[in-house]
């Protein structure tokens, strides 16, 4: 098809596509917007809030992404059997970062501390259908989970 078009027409089509691309925010491509799962988590985030960071059975993970300036806090509450019974998050950043941390709190709930360590950013990215440019948001969420678990561990070690 492109062979039938003249060079000038092809160039004009490309520049039109690029122009339309500019109408959308950087996260949007020319043909689609945020995935509906991301929109769902953004508009109906699960588990927004805070837990008492001084409580013995609460682990707090605080992480930041220098490249985009996103900040993410994820907290877990663990019972005496080592099971995560509650999780809360607060994220200041793009829609994908908010969705990733919201999903992360859903994933950790009900898991043991050891099981939660196995959660990978790829699980989060797959579930939310994150585009390549937003994969670092899922990485941030994974790091937040690990930081919360690490903080919890430290507290338990101090107690002993």
């Amino acid at each position: 098809m492109a062979g039938l078009m003249s060079g000038a027409t092809l160039r004009k089509c490309i520049s039109l596509l690029v122009y339309r691309g500019k109408l959308f925010s950087p996260e949007h491509s020319t043909s689609c917007s945020y995935h509906k799962k991301v929109v769902d988590h953004y508009e109906n985030p699960r588990n927004v809030g805070s837990l008492d960071k001084n409580a013995q059975n609460v682990g707090t993970g605080l992480v930041g992404a220098p490249a985009c300036g996103d900040v993410m806090k994820l907290q877990i509450q663990v019972d005496d059997n080592g099971k995560i019974v509650d999780a809360k998050f607060k994220t200041f950043g793009c829609g994908s970062a908010i969705a990733s941390s919201s999903l992360a709190t859903e994933l950790v709930k009900g898991k043991s501390v050891d099981e939660a360590l196995t959660i990978k950013n790829t699980d989060i990215a797959k579930e939310l259908c994150l585009p390549p440019v937003k994969l670092h948001c899922s990485m941030l969420a994974e790091d937040a989970i690990k930081a919360a678990l690490s903080d919890y561990r430290l507290k338990q070690d101090k107690k002993e």
Binding site: L62, G64, A65, P66, G69, K90, H136, M139
Partner: protein
């Protein structure tokens, strides 16, 4: 005595300027410290004469020629350098393009393709420093766009139209990057081969992250424009402080310090954006 030939290069990239030396002469044993110091001075002089460039590029090249006095060992830290004698010519009339960057041919006045490997600073005729006269920058930007904008080329050939589009887009990109301190600082680091990686800050910056969390949470909770403005003013103050610190670090060549400060600036710049959004939501 030695000769250093510095070729005339039409286009420079800070990292890729090379000096042709007679390596045979330099590798001579019995080269005294005094001679090596003269060499260092000569290189600097030659660079300064031949090239209008920034002090940091001269400094980085000087470092390659700093005499190393290792007691009895009289060797010179020399790199076998080579040069590319780049001499661009006009695509239309083959007249050599002496200006760098060359937007138009001096002879036939036809628009040229955008230069490769030219820094945004030289495109907009600014010194490669963090402190910048933004009014001067804007003036130069408008002056260039008056000449290069595609609207001026609607009656010209397809090739010229294409070149004007690319030149205009490049000038836009250069202006946008150099206008704001954050993007300017990040670009200066990029010129030195340093980038902010896509990783995570956690333990290293926990105090900073806690402070950021608190400010963000406070901003989320504001109920009046005045409260939002207060946070906005506070953030502006922090950004002004950071701008000064980054300027100092870059002038001293402390790139890692500058990188850490620019990271901090990114976080606060995001907060400044959120303050604007919050204020507009009150309207």
């Amino acid at each position: 005595m030695f000769m250093i030939q510095v070729p005339r290069v039409s286009m420079l990239r800070v990292n890729t300027l090379r000096v042709l030396c007679r390596t045979g002469t330099l590798l001579q044993t019995g080269w005294s410290l005094k001679d090596r110091q003269s060499l260092s001075r000569a290189v600097t002089c030659a660079l300064q004469c031949c090239v209008s460039t920034d002090s940091s590029s001269i400094r980085s090249l000087q470092q390659q020629f700093v005499p190393q006095d290792r007691g009895d060992k009289r060797d010179v830290r020399v790199r076998h350098l080579c040069t590319a004698q780049v001499c661009l010519t006009c695509w239309n009339c083959q007249h050599p393009l002496k200006q760098k960057p060359a937007f138009f041919c001096e002879s036939c006045e036809v628009v040229q393709p955008p230069p490769e490997d030219t820094s945004y600073f030289s495109i907009l005729e600014c010194d490669c420093t963090f402190t910048l006269d933004t009014l001067k920058l804007q003036k130069k930007y408008l002056q260039l766009q008056r000449l290069l904008h595609p609207d001026n080329f609607s009656q010209k050939s397809e090739r010229e139209q294409g070149y004007s589009e690319s030149q205009s887009a490049l000038v836009n990109k250069a202006y946008e990057t150099l206008l704001k301190p954050l993007s300017r600082g990040l670009y200066m680091l990029e010129l030195q081969g340093l980038n902010i990686e896509e990783g995570t800050d956690s333990a290293v910056n926990s105090e900073l992250l806690m402070e950021l969390m608190e400010i963000n949470e406070a901003l989320d909770a504001v109920e009046t424009p005045q409260e939002a403005n207060e946070i906005g003013q506070d953030t502006k103050g922090k950004l002004a402080d950071l701008t000064e610190q980054i300027d100092t670090a870059l002038n001293k060549g402390e790139l890692q310090t500058a990188k850490a400060l620019l990271t901090k600036m990114k976080y606060f710049a995001n907060i400044e954006e959120k303050v604007k959004e919050k204020l507009s939501s009150f309207m």
